[in-house]
Symmetry: C2
Subunit: 121 residues, 2 copies
């Protein structure tokens, strides 16, 4: 049987909008999501879970209320459960997110950037 | 406060042995581990959990009893719970593993490649 790997670059080519994650894989009850981001997201926290950001390509900053962390290609960070954060990217950046299935992108701060449903690609 | 990203290349430079994963991050009850691999690992399965392989650098093949999947840089695969598999790399390959904390590298097939304890770097 021919099994298929999941290629980040190929999957990212299917994503057109910024701040609109798409699911590419499931491990137990966790989803792996790819996203293209540019500009400033909204401040939010995830009250029930940690969240992982991996930078695939480009640069992003994740702002916290008491500091920030910069991520370049091949770097990751764990956002602790309940910690307010805001991702920001001056230029388009491509990221991998890992979080429990059902985690809402805007966490505790719903609004116009909230993605009601996260599609698979 | 200055937060620190986790850089895969920097962390990998700290690993000397093949087939000896090191923990670099924890998200909820999951560990992120880096490893350098070369040659053939042992056939095994993880009866209680899926497992994710991400290829950072190099090429590997994950053999199954009924086929195989090849991974190059920027590619990942989810090994389903209970599925027998054997990672193989002709040349040194650097990988990121994501699995529940406490998952043993050789799964249901302990032996001389079993890592009794997985250290943080």
């Amino acid at each position: 049987m021919a099994y298929q790997s999941i290629n980040f670059t190929e999957k990212l080519s299917l994503i057109k909008e910024h701040w609109s994650p798409r699911i590419i894989a499931q491990m137990n009850d966790y989803h792996f999501k790819l996203a293209k981001i540019k500009g400033e997201f909204v401040w939010h926290a995830h009250d029930d879970t940690d969240e992982v950001f991996v930078c695939i390509d480009g640069d992003l900053t994740i702002e916290f209320k008491d500091g920030s962390v910069g991520l370049g290609p091949g770097e990751m960070v764990v956002i602790p459960k309940g910690k307010e954060h805001r991702p920001v990217a001056q230029e388009e950046c491509r990221i991998l997110l890992i979080e429990p299935a059902g985690t809402v992108n805007t966490g505790d701060n719903p609004g116009e950037m909230t993605q009601a449903r996260t599609e698979w690609i």
